[in-house]
Symmetry: C2
Subunit: 551 residues, 2 copies
């Protein structure tokens, strides 16, 4: 449980890689698009990394050991390192270079709220900052202190030991502690015949507490809702006391306090427990791939699907650039018959005027009873045909489902080859969506070009609503040696500025963190920001919780 | 627009009455259940009511006239009276008796946010309290000051002139000013082929701002959600500035500020505008009445319907007492053939062991495309049959739809006949629902009996969710002469205590107001309440907005 066995320099399981060699067109495609020069980006040897010595005063360390037990304290290098930053491109670069500016001094694993309250007290007495830690998959800088002063040290408070689950079979709810990882929670819920329906890309390594603190979205959230929509009640330990909201389906008793803590990113308190809505495991799951002539036609189709009152669990529409990339990065089947069939399909699509090289691929997944799945598929496919979509059958959806948690491993492979790659996401109304898409893609590409390298920006619509959708951008280029962080920051800034200038939100599901906190005032206004600051002053008056994060 | 033409002593349109004379069994049923003695409860003559003279300092009055125009100021008796209290039973009694303790001194109708900000400033300078006013249909005492000091006077700020609407046809959203009444908003939205789907019982006389400020639920909210679920963004004018949230379908950029103002009941600011999710007008609407042998069987059925993943727009399940009341209060058809058919149905039901005298009536309404309506009806009816429900066809649903906004008129008729009648509502999870129902009904009846009169408590499930439902109680008895308010308060207290002791919420859709504010701490805890108080101190530092309401 304690010693992490995950990659300290990248994503997930060290045994797992995303191998581009099985994908015959992958390298030639990337080389052509990005103008690669064969440079590699290495990973420093762990032994060469020197973290500053732990700042913790010995009495504090002893108190923590007394409180939680020696076995629930870690001060070794790997633990400190992996708890000191997240997994954005900037974080990965600094992991590879071994440049951790303000590492945490200690990692502590409390097992209950009383220990958390004691840790708060000790931290206040010793002028320490506390960084709540779930799965560590943040891509917004929410784990890393930018400066140490005025603190004497930094404590990472890892919730992983708090991972119990209770199921209410009658009300279809799960009450779980915040430190539980995605797979453990979903498995327990499945055992009762239910699903939570929450599958963020970080699913395997992220926790319930992290999801709630950052308003996470799952890949099936078009049907099941974002985590804040599944949230019925929570318990939160703040330095000013404990709050527990009521487990009722809805209430008119004042403001909804759940929605103050969901999105608070560990700055107002530590969410220790939550009760969430469950769903029956679907009896039937159906999928369809559809190829449109262009992104625009696909957008019209998914808008109409969402506004028709049905809710597929996945509606993932790639723009022309991403569709081409998916096509060029596909693996070769070991089955010759399949390869022949594939070629026949491409020939046929070409005759119909459709191509993966300049079309837009839509994946649809439907879940429910067989009757619901059939009805939703029928309605959706009728709408897709209306906008010129051609069905590709169920195999694209099935491949995607199989590979969906593997994508983050590709990032490590690309990084090995000195490719900058990261993602940005936003959401807006349908009315503004295409304008925002064009503007943001243009801004990202332009910012990349300013570093004298070729840009490749892939976009898809990841989550849809009747009133709008989320746009997810993956930007890539050749890495600018010795300017990796500056290059990445400049591109991100261009993208986010463009989101905010075009009516998009600062983030639909990654959160704000420290990397995007400069934009928060633009997002919620001066008064909005002062409301969050005022909540912070009340609930964490000595500013010990994740200081300078979010606000 | 300005001079109200509504009943000053009761509900709605003075031309409209709910006549029990057309309902052949109504009086004998009520006489038998309640032990009536023929006493009447009169309404004081308007001329006999003497409101205290307006406290407003003349300079303030002049400033308001300068600001908004003479024609947008009212100080006449009816305007002051109708803006000074709501429409709970307690309010209706005091209207009939002409006992208005702290009437507002003036009613002002601003037309924009600048005027609202000026009114705040003037109020602060002259030590006046401001009561925001929408449609005046509150049943929680949220319009009435309990004491005047330390204020010099009270201003009712009526939003009705702020009633514009814009529709975004592409994103299916409506942006409307807060003073718009239900029918005007729905009509405008309908004109574009859409529906908001929000039909609270007060629909005809309540406003968007009131709905948002109190977290209102509509009768179709099982499908369309409560108003806070439809809310995309809002603008709110507070004494500390203006906040506008972003019109995006979802966001991960910090706490959701919408949900702080929804439910703030005019204490943190005045909501001036909101953008809401719309839906296509349903192509098809289907309904079914179903009779179960008992409430318990019906509960099992609607729980299973909601958990199957479908969402009928209405699932209204009456307990045995309410089912009998609906039956006894039904009107006689003028069509003899219909009456004969009805008798044949009763005979048949009786043979099947079902009766309206001790069964549970469920109304189901389905909305959507014909395919969706058919599928949902099929799934629902299969589940109902599983729990012994017998279909009554579509006529019960149709009659209910026709009469659904008429119920509040019945209250006036009952009051005329010296019957105490009011409602209380809560929500809880399915796991606790039946225990709460039995406990609360018992407490209500016992509290009524302590006044030496016979109780009649009707209950239905008004809104359902996959994890639970809302319970709606209508309690009645003979009025205790000269102790009307004490009797009513004691019964309400017994009901609410029982809700909170049995895991129910203080309110699912009426709100807290002043009548229920004593229970707020029990509902959200000491820290929860201090969060609301802290928000209040920040946003309304001089406590001019609806003082002592909610908190």
């Amino acid at each position: 449980m304690k010693k992490t066995e995950l990659k300290w320099w990248g994503w997930g399981n060290p045994e797992e890689t995303y191998n581009l060699e099985d994908r015959p067109n992958a390298w030639s495609y990337l080389e052509q698009k990005l103008g690669l020069d064969g440079r590699k980006c290495s990973v420093i040897n762990l032994d060469e990394i020197e973290l500053p010595a732990s700042h913790l005063p010995q009495p504090y360390l002893n108190q923590l050991i007394n409180l939680c037990g020696q076995e629930n304290i870690e001060i070794d290098k790997v633990s400190r390192l992996t708890h000191s930053l997240g997994l954005s491109y900037g974080d990965l670069i600094r992991r590879r270079q071994g440049k951790i500016h303000n590492p945490v001094d200690i990692v502590v694993y409390p097992e209950n709220e009383i220990q958390i309250q004691e840790i708060f007290k000790l931290a206040h007495e010793s002028q320490l900052a506390i960084i709540p830690y779930g799965g560590g998959t943040t891509v917004t800088g929410s784990l890393e202190m930018r400066t140490l002063p005025p603190y004497q040290g930094i404590v990472s408070l890892d919730l992983k030991r708090m991972n119990s689950v209770q199921i209410d079979d009658i009300s279809l709810t799960a009450t779980a502690e915040a430190g539980i990882l995605g797979p453990a929670l979903e498995a327990e819920v499945n055992r009762h015949g239910f699903t939570l329906g929450h599958f963020p890309q970080s699913f395997e390594y992220s926790t319930l507490g992290g999801w709630l603190a950052t308003r996470s979205a799952g890949q099936n959230s078009t049907k099941y809702g974002k985590i804040e929509h599944m949230l019925i009640s929570l318990r939160v330990v703040t330095p000013s006391g404990i709050l527990e909201t009521k487990t009722v389906p809805a209430s008119a008793a004042g403001p909804d306090l759940n929605q103050i803590f969901s999105g608070s990113e560990g700055t107002l308190g530590i969410i220790t427990k939550a009760t969430l809505k469950l769903h029956l495991l679907p009896e039937s799951v159906g999928s369809r791939g559809v190829l449109f002539k262009d992104f625009h036609s696909g957008i019209l189709a998914i808008k109409e699907i969402m506004q028709s009152g049905i809710t597929p669990s996945v509606l993932r529409l790639s723009d022309e650039t991403e569709t081409e990339a998916i096509f060029m990065l596909r693996s070769r089947s070991r089955n010759n018959l399949k390869n022949m069939a594939e070629r026949a399909i491409f020939w046929l699509l070409d005759k119909l005027g459709h191509s993966f090289m300049n079309g837009a691929l839509l994946l649809l997944i439907f879940e429910g009873t067989p009757g619901q799945v059939n009805l939703e598929r029928k309605i959706s496919m009728k709408i897709c045909r209306k906008y010129g979509g051609v069905s590709l059958g169920s195999s694209p959806g099935q491949s995607w489902l199989k590979e969906r948690f593997k994508q983050p491993y590709l990032r490590d492979t690309l990084l090995d080859n000195a490719i900058m790659v990261d993602t940005l996401e936003t959401a807006t109304t349908w009315e503004r969506l295409e304008r925002l898409y064009i503007a943001a893609k243009g801004s990202l590409n332009q910012a990349i070009e300013q570093f004298g390298v070729k840009p490749l920006t892939l976009t898809h619509i990841s989550h849809s609503y009747s009133e709008g959708a989320s746009l997810y951008f993956t930007f890539m280029s050749k890495q600018k040696e010795n300017l990796e962080i500056e290059q990445w920051s400049a591109v991100k800034k261009a993208g986010i500025d463009s989101f905010l200038e075009n009516g998009g939100t600062l983030s639909h599901h990654h959160g704000v963190g420290r990397d995007h906190s400069l934009w928060l005032e633009k997002e919620i206004g001066q008064l909005g920001k002062s409301i969050v600051i005022n909540l912070k002053s009340q609930l964490d008056p000595h500013n010990i919780l994740n200081p300078s994060n979010l606000i």
